[in-house]
Symmetry: C2
Subunit: 308 residues, 2 copies
């Protein structure tokens, strides 16, 4: 039995179970770190009857994922008060005494969709979330892409035609990067109402599809994914999918010759199968991986828990 | 002893040897496929005295790298006359009767720099070439990134300020994608003379650094590389390196918090150590991999060459 925490900047989701269909689940809003994490730990202890074998955490970021770093498992430079340099993985591991798997919330979502969702047996894909921010997790050759830190795909620069769209963008770091132009708050600031209040024929959606397709075109050229999963609050507007697919085809303009991109675009750009459970399901996968790693280490002669 | 072919759109480089310092090498211009490849095969046969164990090919593209595809090893949709759908790997393998490793020229360069050059023991990096076109090979978690086809990083869309730079771009597919704005031919068309004739204080270089840094910023956000190697003819202008590094820092604006990006930019954006031998050296690595794969297959009981 595994524990899972999806630690978001706005809300925490916690679960105990074995898969997306076998979950005891709760959620509450994110306050300062200590009481929030204490509440998560209390839930995990109680629901598991103390029988947890490992915990997985998908966290808002940026986070330190480098196993050799002294601050591995910490949230790093977030503007969220109290959470800078908070040792998230360490706090959970100490309280529960079990192995902890730790990654970004979007990497967790990608893992969840890989195991149970829209990317089963797909070796290379991108999971993108479009909501308060824009973030993504990439799987390459069947493994999560971390690299130097982890991707921050929302912050790529894209063409911005100021005549068509005079809105300057809302990213505090980059102004009109993709996130600055196309996240939920950007839609609200540009059009004067939140995305979920805009009717399906509102011009906001064609512009949104244009920006997201520019992002997708750049990731097709860079990551060469076999599928792109689009989740998050803004993507609740289902009519975005056909608009994005058509715009992506227009932008690629036949350059990347692949049946998947030319004939099967409806299977190429897809919604998540697990919906808003992708992240918490993926945190279970992180728990399982941490559990396996501990077992593998224990199986090496002379390599006990004490020498970790 | 391995054979190596770097098949470029303009010239072919062929070599026999064991590493970048131990190479018998030749080059000639690329004509139609049959005589060009026959010349490569003749060189490999003669120089090896018939003792080749495998051959590696780094090819211009796009190419089919999918091992399960009936057209694996072929060049696909190139506009280069005669080369469309040419079975490059098949022709070499049939003529020489040895295993053939096959990948893009830029993936080969990335492999060469990984083994002997500027990215030794770097698990995640990008090799970029800026010349007649712009292309790149990415290593993620120590493995080449292929994905659906292979990256075409030169074709990402970037901001283009038409007031600063009214030149519309030269990409036949996308106009002002990165390659369309920043490849060698774009520089020549914009300024009226080729890059190598422009003095070091020409405004062309600041603009070129701006465009390349926009590309780099997008790849930092997407691939999270630990290093970026910039090769190719345009990068012969060494003064581009400090301009690109400064512009990349400005564009990232402190968002991606990493010592490597903030304090060690001079070790982060670097020239190739193997210079113009990266590609042919990487083709040797491809040969070695093909040789190892054949040995591994042969070691599986009941799995002989005939059942491949």
């Amino acid at each position: 039995m595994f524990g899972a925490i999806e630690g978001g900047g706005t809300k925490f989701v916690c679960a105990v179970g074995t898969g997306p269909e076998e979950l005891a689940i709760t959620q509450f809003s994110t306050e300062s770190p200590e009481p929030t994490v204490a509440r998560a730990i209390a839930f995990l202890k109680e629901r598991s009857g103390g029988r947890l074998q490992a915990v997985g955490i998908g966290s808002f970021g940026p986070v330190d994922l480098s196993p050799s770093s002294p601050t591995f498992g910490c949230i790093t430079s977030t503007p969220k008060p109290g959470w800078q340099n908070y040792d998230f993985a360490g706090a959970v591991g100490q309280a529960l005494g079990v192995p902890v798997g730790f990654d970004t919330d979007v990497d967790a979502s990608a893992l969840g969709e890989s195991r149970w969702g829209a990317a089963q047996s797909v070796s290379d894909f991108l999971y993108l979330t479009v909501g308060t921010g824009i973030g993504g997790g990439a799987i390459v050759n069947g493994q999560i892409l971390h690299g130097l830190i982890h991707p921050e795909v929302g912050h790529i620069r894209i063409p911005h035609d100021l005549q068509r769209d005079p809105y300057r963008g809302c990213c505090p770091f980059h102004g009109d990067c993709l996130e600055g132009l196309a996240c939920g708050p950007a839609i609200e600031k540009r059009w004067g109402k939140p995305a979920h209040e805009l009717t399906v024929d509102h011009p906001a959606w064609a512009l949104e599809a244009h920006y997201l397709a520019l992002g997708l075109a750049n990731w097709v050229c860079t990551l060469s994914p076999k599928r792109i999963i689009l989740g998050g609050g803004v993507m609740q507007q289902q009519s975005l999918f056909p608009l994005i697919r058509a715009e992506l085809i227009r932008l690629l303009n036949g350059y990347v010759r692949s049946k998947e991109l030319i004939e099967n675009m409806e299977q190429y750009v897809v919604p998540p199968k697990l919906g808003n459970r992708a992240g918490i399901a993926g945190a279970l996968v992180l728990a399982e991986q941490a559990y396996q790693q501990q077992r593998n280490r224990a199986a090496i002669p002379g390599h006990s828990e004490n020498t970790r």
